[in-house]
Subunit: 297 residues, 4 copies
C-alpha cells in the first residue's frame, strides 16, 4: 500500500527501506534535502492518494506535537495518522482529539528494534481502534519481523496503549541493561576471571541469561575490551523517567527500573551532592577524613 | 568418551541423555534404583576404565562435599573429577586440594540451561587447568549447544572461575527476572492495556527486550493468565546471596541484583517487620491509623 | 495578633490551642459544630478585622483547592491567606494567582511536628514575599518551637518554596523511617539480641543514630513489643510520591527515598504480581516448585 | 574504679578524659609516647591491681586481634577484658574462648558517639555474662550519657550481642545519612529554594526529621556552604558491609542500607564499569552517542 513517512532519521530512514523492500510505496518527507522524497509536508499530502496514511517518525515532545499540528491542517477527513515515535502516552489522547476534529484517525505505535530493525524487523505495539489498526496492518506486517504476527506485533488497547506498552518496554530495557552491566562489573573485578568478554560470549547460547542485549554486550566488549575508549556517561530519553512516574501513579513498586534510572542520573554528575553530604556528615561526627577538592583525581 | 556421572536428578538425568545422544558412554550413579546404572559409587569406579573422568551433579553444599570426599577415596591417581553443581566457588580450592592429595584432578563447571538443556544444550563455564579442560572437552562439546564453541562454553580461569562465573550468571538472572516481572506488573496495573500476555508475546521478536526468559514469561502467562494459580512466594538457591556477598567483598555496587534478592526474601514473609515498624512510627508521630491484626485480610 | 483558622482537625485543633496559649486571638472555622468557633466561612470573615490573616489547614488536594476558591470570594483586598496543609508545591502558584486577582496575598507553609507540635512547637517552612512573611511572623513565632527562630522556621524562598521544602522533608522522613525499621528487623531476626526494644531504648541517648523518630520507635516497641498487634500495611500521603517525581524531574538520584516509597506500595498488596511473575519464570526454566494458591497461608 | 585502657586514639583518648572526669583511675597504654601513661602493655598490667579490668580500644581486625592475643599472655585469671572497638561480632566468641582458656573474662562493647562522646557521653551496647557486665558497670555508667541508664546503655545479650547491635546501629547510620543527603541534593537542585542550608537549620527543631545527625548536617553546611571544598569520596569502615552480609544470612531485606553501602562504593570509582557497559549497550542497539574518554571532563 501507499504510505507517507514524515521523519527520515536513524529510524525513519531504515523503515522506508524495509517498507519498500516489502513492496510498499513510501513517500518520505524530511527537512534534509539529501534524504527527502518531496520538498515539503504539503507536497507530501499532494503526492499521496486520499484517503492517506501518514506515519510520523520524529523526536518525541514538541517536534512530534508541532508535526502533528501541522499535518492536521494539510490532511483530509478520512486520513489516518500514525505516531511511531517515542511520545509519552498521555499525549496520544490529545493528538487523537486534535486530529479527530478534522476527521482524521489516529494510531499510536511503539517501535522497538533500533538500528537492527531494518534487517531483523521491528517489534510493534499499537493503540487505537480495531478498524484503524486493520487498515494499517499491511504496513505493520512489513515492518515487524517474519513469523507469527503475535510474536512481534500487538494491538495493545485503545489510543495510548501502544506508547504505554513501549514505555514499559523501555523501562524493562533499562533494568535489563543494568542487570547485564552489574554482572560485567563483577566479572571484571574478580581476579579469578581471565577474560570477562569470553564469559559474555559464552553466555550467548544455552544459558538462562541469553538474549539479544546479552549478545550485543558481548559484541561491544569484543570491539572495545574493558571499555577503555568510553566513559559511563549515559543519557536517558524520557521513557525510563515516565515509566517510574507511571509506576508511582499506579502504586507499582519498581525498584530495579528506578535503580537503573537513578544510575543514569548519577553517571552524568561530576560529583554527587548526596555523597558530599555523606562525607561531610562522617567528618562531623567521627572526625573521619574527607577527600578535599584539591586531592581529587 | 567414557564418563561417570554421579547424580541423576533433574539436571543429571537429562545430561546423561544428551551425552549418550552425542555418542558418549555414560555410566550414571544415583541412590534411586529406578534411575541408576550401577548400585554404588564403588561399582561406578569399577565400571569405569582408568584414568577416569567423573562428573558430580548433586545439590550444592554438604551433599556435594560429602560426595567428593567419598569419591576421593575410591578414585585413583590420574582420574579427573568435575563438579558441575552450583557449588560456591570458594569450595573449589578446598576440593581441588583434597583431591590433589590423592593425585586426582579437579574442574569446577557451572552449567546453565535448566530443563531445556537436554534439547537446546547447556551453557558451560569451567575453571581449572588447561590440560584438564582439554581432556574433558569432548564431554563439554556434547553438552553445550551446537555452533561455535565460544558461544556456549568458556574456560573462565583457574579453579573456582567456572563456579564464580555461574554465580554471577545467576545473579544477573535474578535481576533480569525482576526486570521483566516489574514490567508485567506495570502492564497489568494499567487500564489501557487490554491483555498484558499479548504484549509479552509480542515482545518475543524484534524488540530490544527479547530473550529466552522473555519468551518463557510469555509462555507462563499463556498457561496461567494473570498468574491466578500461584503465589509470589519465591525461594532462592544461594547463588543470588553469594553474588551480593561477593559484590560487597569486591566493592562493586549491585543495586539491581540486591533488589532482586531482597524481593525474594520479602516474598516469603507473611508480614514485614520493617513495615510494621514504619506503620507504628507513623502512628506515633502523626496519629495515623494502623491496620490492626484483626483487620488484615 | 488576630488569626482566622480554617480546619480544626488533628493539626488545626492543636495549632489553635498553641496559638491561644501564645497570646493570639484565633477564630476557628470547621464544618464540625463541636469544634468550630463560628458557623460558616462567611461568619469567619465577618468576625475578623480587615486586613485579615486566614490560615487554611485542611486536607491537601481538592479540599484545599475548594477552600481557597471559596475564601477568595469572601476575603477582601489586602487580606493574607496562608495554606498550611500538605499541598503539592505546584498548586501554590495557581492559588497565588487566583487570590492575587482579588488583591489577596498568599503564603505557602509546610508544617511539621504531627500531634506533638502542640507542646513541642511546629517546624515551619514558608514560601512567599518577604513583606507577607514579616506580616505573619507573630503567628509563625508562636507556632514554632522556642529557641532561635532559624532553628525551627525558614523562609525558604518565593511562593511554593515552603511546600517544596516540606515535600522534601517528608521524603527524607520516609527514608529515615525505613532506615530505623530495617535495623529493627535485623535486631529482631538475630538470636543473639535478647530484646530489640531495649536496644532501641538504649539508642535514644549518646548514639550517632539518636533522633526524635528513634525515640518514637523505642516508645512504640515498648507499647507493643514485637508489634504483635499491627500489620505492616502502610498508607502514603502523596508527599513521598511527589518527592520521587520531583527527583526525576530534577534528575536527582534518590534510591533510598524511592525504596521507602515502593516498600509502602508493596505493604498494601496481598500478593505481589512482580513476584508471581518471578516464581512463574523460575518454574518455567528450572522446573522449580511454585507455591500454589491453595498452599499459601 | 581502676581501668586499664589500651589504645588512645581519637576514641580512647577522649574516653580516658571522660572516665577520669567521672572519678575513675585510668591507666592508658598507647605506642605513641606523647599520649601513653605507661611504656608497655606489660607495664600496664603491672600498674593495675588484680583482678584487672582492661578496655581495648584499637582499630578492628588484626590490630584488635593481636592486641587481645598479647593481653591474653600478660593478664591473669580473674581479669576482665572489654573489646570496645568496632570488631565484627563473629570475632567475639573466638576472643572469649581464647581468653577463657586463661581464666580471663570477656565483654564486647559497641561504643557510639564519635568525637562528641567526650562531652555528651557515649551510647553503649554490650554483650557478655550478667556478672561481667555488672562488674564493669561503673565504667559504663561513667562513659554513657547522664540520665536513665536504659537510655544510653544496653546489655544486648550474650557474647557478640554488643558488637552485633553496634553493627546494626552503623548500618542504620549509613541509611540515615543517605536519607538526609538525598534531601540535601533535592533542595540544592531546586531553583525555588533560596538557601538549602537555612532549610536544614530550620529542620533542627520541631520537625519530624530532627536528629543529631540532622543538626550536624546543618552545621557542616554552615561551615562549607554548597560543600564546595570536599568531594563525595566516602570510605566505609566495614560495619555497613557486615550489616548487609548479616541481613543476607538472616534473609532480611535491607534495601535502604544496601543502597547506602553501594553509594559509597560508587563514590570511590572514577568511572563506573556498570555504566560503561550500559553506555556501550545503548550505542550497540540504538546507535546512541557515547561519551568518549577524551571528551570527559
Amino acid at each position: 500500500m501507499q504510505l507517507g513517512l514524515v521523519g527520515l532519521g536513524k529510524m525513519g530512514f531504515n523503515m522506508r527501506e524495509r517498507l519498500r523492500a516489502g513492496g510498499h510505496e513510501v513517500i518520505g518527507y524530511d527537512p534534509r534535502p539529501e534524504v527527502t522524497d518531496v520538498p515539503s509536508p504539503a507536497a507530501l499530502t499532494d503526492a499521496l492518494t486520499a484517503p492517506r496514511v501518514v506515519w510520523v517518525m520524529v523526536p518525541s515532545g514538541s517536534v512530534t506535537h508541532d508535526t502533528i499540528v501541522a499535518l492536521a491542517d494539510v490532511l483530509s477527513p478520512g486520513d489516518l495518522l500514525i505516531d511511531g515515535g517515542n511520545s509519552r502516552y498521555t499525549e496520544d489522547a490529545k493528538h487523537q482529539k486534535l486530529l479527530g476534529e478534522n476527521g482524521i484517525s489516529f494510531i499510536d505505535a511503539g517501535v522497538s528494534g533500533g538500528v537492527w530493525g531494518l534487517t531483523d524487523g521491528y517489534g510493534l505495539m499499537v493503540g487505537g481502534s480495531a478498524d484503524d489498526v486493520a487498515r494499517a496492518m499491511p504496513i505493520f506486517d512489513a515492518l515487524r519481523p517474519p513469523g507469527p504476527r503475535a510474536d512481534g506485533f500487538v494491538h495493545a488497547g485503545p489510543t495510548g496503549a501502544g506508547h504505554f506498552a513501549k514505555m514499559v518496554h523501555n523501562g524493562v530495557e533499562y533494568a535489563l541493561m543494568t542487570a547485564y552491566a552489574e554482572g560485567y562489573e563483577l566479572l571484571s573485578a574478580a581476579d579469578l576471571i581471565t577474560d570477562p568478554q569470553a564469559v559474555y560470549q559464552a553466555w550467548t547460547n544455552g544459558t538462562v541469561v541469553r538474549s539479544w542485549l546479552q549478545q550485543l554486550l558481548a559484541k561491544a566488549l569484543e570491539e572495545d575490551p574493558g571499555f577503555s575508549r568510553i566513559t559511563g556517561y549515559t543519557e536517558d530519553s524520557g521513557e525510563g523517567r515516565w515509566t517510574v512516574e507511571e509506576a508511582i501513579r499506579l502504586r507499582v513498586p519498581v525498584p530495579s527500573i528506578a535503580a537503573s534510572l537513578f544510575a543514569r542520573f548519577l553517571s552524568r554528575q561530576d560529583e554527587s551532592p548526596t555523597m558530599k553530604a555523606v562525607a561531610a556528615l562522617r567528618q562531623q561526627f567521627g572526625g573521619h577524613a574527607v577527600k578535599r577538592v584539591s586531592e581529587s583525581g
